[in-house]
């Protein structure tokens, strides 16, 4: 395949694969715990961190890492303390994070033309040092999940019972949000801040329809993520389209198809039951 002879393409595929791992694992918690909104919110506040990075003259990705971690912890506290108004406050923080980013960028000296690549992704131009960053974040995510998978699952399944038997739901909820923050950072280069939430939730929600355990849901999500990023990359190369958006549209198409398939097989199963 001539597609594979370019180094930047091989690099991009590598990033896509690393992103799929983070997405598949963390996205599974996002989907079963139904925290897509808070995750979307965390991803948008990353823009504040990117702006801050520009303003301070450091790598915007490093700025995004710390800023999203901070927002994740703040949102964890909000959802812990203000159960009644949680979604409103989270929505407000989302907007504030982005507004801060806009102001920081405006105040930054010099050229900030590649902002669009953070918003919508540019998997083809990931520099080598960011590939390393993504790899390190992936390792941190996998190690944390390896250590606390049972606690995360329990808090997702029945938070009240977890509290009753003495599991610190506040700690594990906060930790999970931090993992989401790191995952967002991993994904920014691939699909961009605005599209992160789709790639975080689509593979696990498809996988959830065909799997019956957390482990297999994560595994299938990783596989689907890899198919979507690789396929999206290939299609964007073929038709000269923006890679991030193509990856998301491919994932979205996959999601619709799986819904359709589920619907049809569900109907067939139902008819079979009627016949008996």
């Amino acid at each position: 395949m001539e597609f594979l002879q370019y180094e930047f393409i091989r690099n991009a595929l590598m990033v896509g694969f690393l992103v799929s791992i983070a997405c598949g694992v963390v996205g599974t918690y996002v989907v079963i715990k139904r925290i897509a909104f808070i995750s979307g919110s965390i991803s948008h506040t990353a823009y504040g961190g990117i702006g801050l990075g520009y303003y301070l003259g450091i790598n915007p990705m490093v700025g995004a890492t710390f800023f999203t971690l901070f927002s994740a912890l703040a949102m964890g506290e909000v959802s812990h303390r203000m159960k009644d108004r949680e979604d409103t406050v989270i929505g407000i923080m989302w907007a504030i994070g982005m507004a801060l980013g806009v102001i920081f960028v405006k105040l930054s000296p010099g050229y900030t033309a590649d902002l669009m690549s953070y918003l919508f992704g540019s998997i083809l131009t990931v520099p080598h040092n960011e590939l390393i960053l993504v790899l390190i974040l992936d390792i941190i995510i996998l190690l944390t999940v390896g250590l606390f998978h049972d606690q995360f699952t329990m808090v997702a399944f029945d938070e009240e019972f977890a509290q009753v038997i003495g599991i610190s739901t506040r700690f594990y909820n906060g930790l999970l949000l931090c993992l989401i923050a790191l995952t967002v950072v991993v994904m920014i280069r691939a699909v961009g801040i605005i599209l992160v939430i789709a790639l975080l939730t689509i593979p696990p929600s498809i996988a959830g329809q065909y799997t019956r355990s957390m482990g297999s849901m994560m595994g299938l999500s990783i596989l689907l993520g890899a198919v979507f990023t690789t396929g999206g990359l290939y299609l964007s190369y073929l038709f000269d389209l923006p890679s991030g958006a193509t990856i998301i549209l491919l994932a979205g198409t996959g999601f619709l198809l799986s819904l359709l398939l589920k619907n049809i097989t569900g109907k067939i199963a139902q008819e079979k039951r009627w016949d008996m």
Partner: protein, 255 residues
């Protein structure tokens, strides 16, 4: 007598968002009691249980569990929550749900052989061992309730606390479920909360009536005053054996 007191509540006042929900509650539960707390919806039954579990902070008053504070001893309680509408698609097997009950006691990253043995034993106790590898979403309401009992039992509690355990279970399952509780009550203290007088009164050994304040004489006599206190409704209704709240058992949910 102190040795036998497993729950002791003194002058408990609880309010939620400024509204008084429980007033001057005094209750002593002794080891081996099988106590049914009845009362109308909104009478504070769940709040009382949640206070005992330490999930709600009381305004005033004291709760002690086995002679210690709630913070210290709430883990001696096995809690069976009100039939929660779990996400049916949650990818988890029955056995893993039960194992969760031991997570707080677990040392290290994995469950020990003892944890697994305890899980098997508790599934057997509630007669669910054959369904151990089924996803929890595939179970009926009654089966799921049994699994939640096993999850509560797996951490070796001395008290079992159940919140409306049969609210969404069909009547066939109700009877066998209460029989299970009756069996368990021979070896542990059970407190259960329900608005379903008929079902409860057949099985429990003592009844209390809660409607913001608590009526309890540590016996099973359901006096006219208790019912009037609890339900604020004419007693004839109940004398016919059809308490008004019982009529709409939520059959539709199961299945």
């Amino acid at each position: 007598m102190t040795a036998e007191e497993v729950i002791r509540i003194k002058n408990l006042y609880v309010s939620l968002a400024g509204t008084p929900v429980l007033e001057d509650i005094n209750l002593t539960v002794y080891q081996g009691d099988f106590l049914g707390i009845i009362g109308p919806n909104g009478g504070g039954k769940s709040t009382l249980l949640r206070s005992i579990l330490g999930l709600v902070k009381p305004d005033k008053g004291e709760i002690s569990i086995a002679g210690g504070s709630v913070e210290k001893n709430h883990t001696l309680i096995g809690y069976v929550p009100q039939y929660a509408v779990f996400d049916r698609s949650f990818p988890i097997k029955v056995r893993d749900v039960v194992l969760m009950g031991r997570l707080a006691k677990r040392r290290g990253r994995f469950y020990s052989r003892q944890d697994y043995e305890q899980m098997e034993r508790c599934l057997e106790l509630v007669e669910m061992q054959e369904l151990r590898n089924r996803p929890i979403g595939d179970l009926s309401g009654g089966e799921r309730q049994r699994v939640l009992v096993a999850r509560a039992l797996v951490a070796d509690p001395i008290i079992l606390l159940l919140d409306e355990p049969t609210a969404s279970v069909d009547s066939h399952f109700q009877a066998t479920f209460y029989e299970l509780l009756e069996r368990l009550s021979k070896t542990m203290t059970i407190v259960l909360v329900s608005h379903d007088i008929t079902a409860i009164s057949t099985y429990v050994s003592t009844i209390a009536c809660l409607n913001r304040t608590l009526h309890y004489q540590h016996n099973k006599e359901l006096t006219v005053e208790m019912i009037e206190h609890g339900y604020n409704c004419p007693v004839e209704l109940i004398a016919h054996g059809i308490p008004h709240r019982v009529l709409h058992a939520h059959d539709g949910v199961v299945g």
